[in-house]
């Protein structure tokens, strides 16, 4: 793997109000690092969705986000890490396994249809949206102490 030519690392307590400024900061960082506004917009959207999930479902007061730019290849790698409860880990693994199957658009439409009928207040659309709209390679890692990391790689 090439070394990044620029990266940012953000840690914040899981408060909703910090997501919007984090999104704008990340958007500006990528736009400057890659000179590609469209990619900056779509990755900022993706990271914002991951941060929303971390804040909504996180089990501790710490959300950790790293965004790395590889201008040589036009690649951006972004990851969001947070602690989850045992149930939270099971939920994220289930949704990940579901949306990563088959065609990205079909998975997104199916997830939208399902979201429209949910009554529990959740949308569970974020990962499907990220996969379809950014074309990202999406990876999920879970440690034995329930640290959940979702990484997206956009080329």
């Amino acid at each position: 793997m090439l070394k990044p030519e620029g990266y940012i690392e953000i840690r914040f307590g899981p408060r909703w109000k910090y997501i919007s400024p984090a999104r704008v900061f990340i958007q500006n960082f990528i736009a400057i690092a890659l000179s590609d506004q469209t990619k900056a917009d779509s990755i900022a959207m993706a990271v914002s969705e991951l941060l929303e999930n971390a804040v909504k479902y996180g089990a501790s007061e710490d959300t950790h986000c790293i965004v790395q730019a590889f201008p040589q290849t036009g690649t951006i790698q972004a990851s969001v890490t947070n602690h989850a409860s045992e149930q939270g880990v099971r939920d994220v693994q289930a949704i990940y396994n579901k949306i990563m199957k088959g065609d990205a658009l079909e998975a997104y439409i199916a997830q939208m249809r399902e979201a429209a009928t949910r009554t529990d207040g959740k949308s569970q659309l974020g990962l499907a949206r990220i996969r379809y709209e950014t074309g990202a390679d999406v990876k999920l890692e879970v440690t034995s102490d329930h640290l959940v990391t979702i990484t997206i790689i956009v080329k």
């Binding site: 909703w16 929303e52 997104y108 979201a115 659309l125």
Partner: protein, 126 residues
Amino acid sequence: MNQLNIEPIAKDKIRLEVFDNGAGLTVQFVGDIDMEDPSLVLDPLFEKIHQGMVAKKIPFIVADFKGLTFLNSSGIKAVAKWIMKLAMLPPDQKYQIRISHNKAITWQVTSLPTLTFLVPGAVKVE
């Protein structure tokens, strides 16, 4: 004001307004929808619009997203829920949702066309 007497809504970073538009209506979204639970604002508005469109037999509504700079997936869920209501209507009560979008805003180009797949024929992106 508009024929459904729906008042404008301003909440957090979003402003929503319904206008008469010829034989139809326009619902305009301006700002950002990135609150934790947008359904609190959007669901009641879409329900009022839906009930009014059916009761008054209004043929179309333009959903004008051109001024909406961000919409999170919870907001997309609310829009999808509105569109899915059209699938339940008998043919003589159906109306069309015409999505007006801004090609300079990346999320609108990638997100909004996907809504046309939810209920075939019910949504058009302009």
